[in-house]
């Protein structure tokens, strides 16, 4: 039995499978359409909503496990990769130390792309990319380079389909966000800890927290609320603990072991203070690199969004986050963005309204909101089928998935994303990348997309060069083989992987192609059929 909401949209069954694979996943891989048909649409959706019910292949788990910086805490990362000048070994210079830390970004990129390409928990990956973008941090800003992978791994992925409040709290306290939006420097004026560059209030995070992360720009807050929230969030810092002065192995191991032990103390609501680690001056850590510094906190009572917040410490911030997460404005803002991502650039107002109600009724349970969305009639309407223009990320990932080539070297893919204006972890501004056709469709984008489709479809991208060096090597040197000409393919490029079989590719994408495209593909010379499928107007959309 298919739910009425699914049937009411009158999509042919073949397009239904493609629809969910294009929206809840990054497009079909070979065999995916058959698999969805076989286990049933609803079953497939339910599994995707509960990623733990889907087994991850051991090989994938091993590859992710081998990306060691993804599994280090913010503290460990700081100790290992933020070497203070005085501790640099002779002959080592600051640049070399910086170079070493580039492994963090490389591994974050590698982990994200491999999971998006090959991971069976596709919706979780879609939501991880969605929330990372929503709570964007920029790898190129200072210390964020140390924590970019940890931010996604610790603050985003675990909560991608959980409660919004938890996601919000995890991002608010992660060192990457504290650094990126300057809240770590936000200090109560004239407080005992106020000195030097930590003398007073910084509005940056408070404003973006309301404008971008929660209420939305029309969410009904004033400049006075920005300032009140900034005061409430003073004293929120991250742990900066260096390894002992002389870098000897045992001491380093001790520091790392300590940092590892701290992971056990991670908790994200900050209310169970008793189990947190005390600091001199009465501050404490709550795990994952966050610490609250009362010497820089403004304990005074505040009025925030018309509500009194009594004097207090870290709990003031928790209350403020509660208020923000519970707000109907937030429910609406989040619902709109989800509907815009999953349904249409201009999502139907009624659907957004129903999702907002679902958010409010379930205390911001994102899984329930998504459930409302996926089983809505609007989601299945024909007018919403294939109308989302893929972002560069979605285009590159979905094309590579469709070809089905096992990817070892992700650089040609990340290079293409960058050329298309969407470098992974490279969005400088806190609003993240847009998700609309208007933002991404341009003359240049079409030239670049079709060039990528051509290079990929002819088997010219060096996707199978070994990347072991990249996973292991801390030298920062990139062997020549690692620097493929991203899309600069000479006309007579040699094939670096077997040219994709156009018949197999056509089967993978199922009922995607319209009949004019279909005819154009089969009228083209054999070597150009796969590029045409990947570069077709239908493949630009999801």
């Amino acid at each position: 039995m298919i739910r009425p909401s699914i049937q009411s949209g009158a999509l042919p069954p073949g397009q239904r499978s493609l629809h969910v694979l294009n929206r809840l996943a990054f497009g079909p891989r070979p065999g995916d359409i058959d698999y969805v048909r076989q286990i049933g649409l609803e079953n497939w959706i339910e599994h995707q909503l509960h990623p733990d019910s889907i087994a991850e292949p051991a090989a994938l788990q091993q590859r992710i496990a081998s990306l060691q910086t993804l599994h280090m805490t913010p503290e460990e990362l700081f100790i290992r990769y933020q070497v203070p000048l005085r501790q640099l070994a002779p002959g080592d210079d600051k640049r070399a130390a910086r170079q070493r830390s580039k492994i963090i970004l490389r591994q974050a990129v590698q982990g994200r792309i491999i999971r998006a390409l090959e991971g069976p928990r596709q919706l979780q990956e879609v939501m991880t990319a969605f929330w990372f973008n929503h709570f964007n941090v920029f790898a190129g800003k200072g210390l964020c380079r140390l924590w970019i992978g940890s931010f996604e791994q610790e603050a985003i992925r675990p909560y991608a389909m959980g409660r919004f409040r938890e996601l919000l709290g995890a991002t608010a306290k992660h060192p990457a966000m504290l650094f990126y939006l300057d809240n770590w420097q936000n200090t109560a004026p004239h407080s005992p800890g106020a000195r030097g560059k930590f003398e007073g209030i910084n509005e940056n995070y408070a404003r973006e927290l309301m404008e971008l992360h929660t209420l939305g720009v029309n969410g009904g807050y004033s400049q006075a609320d920005v300032i009140a929230l900034a005061h409430i969030l003073t004293g929120w810092r991250f742990v900066r603990r260096n390894a002992p002065k002389t870098v000897n192995r045992p001491a380093f191991e001790r520091a790392s072991a300590f940092a590892r032990a701290m992971r056990g103390l991670r908790f994200l609501f900050g209310r169970a203070r008793q189990s947190s680690r005390p600091w001199r001056g009465g501050g404490f850590e709550t795990g994952n690199g966050f610490y609250f510094d009362p010497r820089r906190h403004d304990f005074s009572a505040q009025t925030f969004l018309g509500q009194p917040i009594p004097s207090g410490g870290l709990d003031q911030g928790e209350v403020a986050l509660d208020i923000l997460a519970r707000s109907p404005a937030t429910a609406n803002h989040i619902s709109f963005q989800l509907a815009q991502y999953f349904v249409a650039d201009q999502p139907p107002a009624e659907l957004v309204e129903r999702m907002t109600r679902s958010y409010l009724a379930t205390g911001g349970n994102l899984r329930d909101v998504l459930q409302t969305l996926f089983f809505s009639t609007e989601f299945w309407e024909r007018r919403h089928y294939g109308v989302k223009f893929k972002t560069p990320y979605e285009f590159v990932i979905s094309a590579t998935r469709a070809v089905g080539v096992p990817v070892v070297n992700v650089r040609p893919l990340t290079g293409a994303m960058a050329l298309l204006g969407m470098p992974l972890y490279g969005c400088q501004t806190p609003d993240g990348y847009k998700q609309t056709q208007e933002a991404w469709l341009s003359p240049n984008a079409m030239m670049m997309r079709l060039s990528f489709a051509t290079a990929l479809g002819r088997g010219h991208l060096p996707l199978q060069h070994p990347m072991d060096e990249i996973a292991q090597d801390e030298s920062g040197r990139t062997p020549e083989a690692m620097q493929p000409a991203v899309m600069r393919m000479p006309p007579a490029a040699v094939n670096v992987f077997a040219e994709p079989d156009s018949m197999a590719l056509a089967a993978t994408v199922g009922d995607l192609l319209s009949s004019p495209t279909y005819e154009a593909v089969w009228a083209a010379p054999p070597g150009l059929q796969a590029p045409l499928i990947l570069g077709s107007p239908e493949f630009m959309m999801r």
Binding site: E203, D431, E438, S442, L450, R458, R488, M489, L532
Partner: protein
Amino acid sequence: MHDRPDSRNSQIIGRREFIRAATLAASGAVIFGPHAWVARASSVVNSRKRLVLVFLRGAVDGLNVVVPYDDSNYYENRPSIAIPRIGEGAVLDLDGHFGLNPALASLMPAWKEGLLAFVHSCGSPDPTRSHFDAQDYIESGTPGIRTTPDGWMNRTLAALPGKHQPTEALSVGAVLPRILSGSMPVANVSGRGAARPLPLDNPRIERVFDRLYNGRDPLSKAYQEGRAARQRLLGELRQDMAVADNGAPGPEGFPNDAARLAWLIQRDSSVRLAFISLGGWDTHVNQGSIGGQLANHLKPLGYGLADFAKRLGSAYDDTVILVLSEFGRTVRENGNGGTDHGHGNVMWIMGGPVRGGRVYGRWSGLSPADLYQERDLAVTTDFREPIVQVLLTHLGLSAIQIQKIFPQRLTFSGHLSTILRG
């Protein structure tokens, strides 16, 4: 220069501007009215004039760009980030009141030649302190209205006379900015390696894709515009560009993007409107004073602009460059050696036709009573006023055309009517 406000001058479009437009119309450069079509062929006079817009995304701190160094409030509000009046790293005096940030020393020759001007206390009438809303308003040209579907540069393109060329409006960057989006065809080129051969350049491959994208839908339209621009920009000039690029993409950054743009304009005189944006101005912490973050961003910008002017050669005589940002920053420095989101800012105007060497606009002052919402530089000149001057005087558009580009009722100071040589 620092005139007092005069309400008589605040009209929809200053009377003098209107007269100027009418004069231009009479001279045949621009004609509106029933015989507009006659003018198209004869408008070659203006066909090389161009506007280059440099958008500083993230809100540059205008008070540290053009510094009111004779105002003690400036120094009182900015104990650690002010640009000193005298001594090492002091401001470069402009007019006895304002001084230029020394990081922009490379622009002083332009100032002295009289080809660089500033408009202070300039900005958007909309009070938002959201970067994204404010940028959107600057680009749509309709502050306060979110639903405007297109950008004002696209609407300007529609108003330009003559046969439209695929590269008449050009953006440097991988994505098309809001300001250029709309119904008129535009081109965007990525800053790096724009001329490198792509797989798509193979005629065999082009042909098959031509067949797929031959409709009038948005994707086909983008494809066709991309093909046309690529052919025009790169067709016969590919060798040339490859030499210029020395076979490899240069480093990223404004000076290189600007150099490429200059290169394109020199070789393709059909470029009338160009757009470049650069980020990194949101200095909430450690903004620095004579050194540091802001200075490090200003240096390549100043150098890049000076170099751009040089590379344009004689084309510079026909080029006006506007540099602007979505809003300014707080007068008072914050607790972290930075500044937060503010309101009024300074606009830069540079180029052959500019009557420079002056700071235009009504300076609104920094005493507590002068500030906008008790914290920010007030706006006394709408950011559209200098733009309208350029459209009228430089690009030769008519008041009626301008009303289509900026449809809201505009209140103008009237202080800028002499900023360009007609």
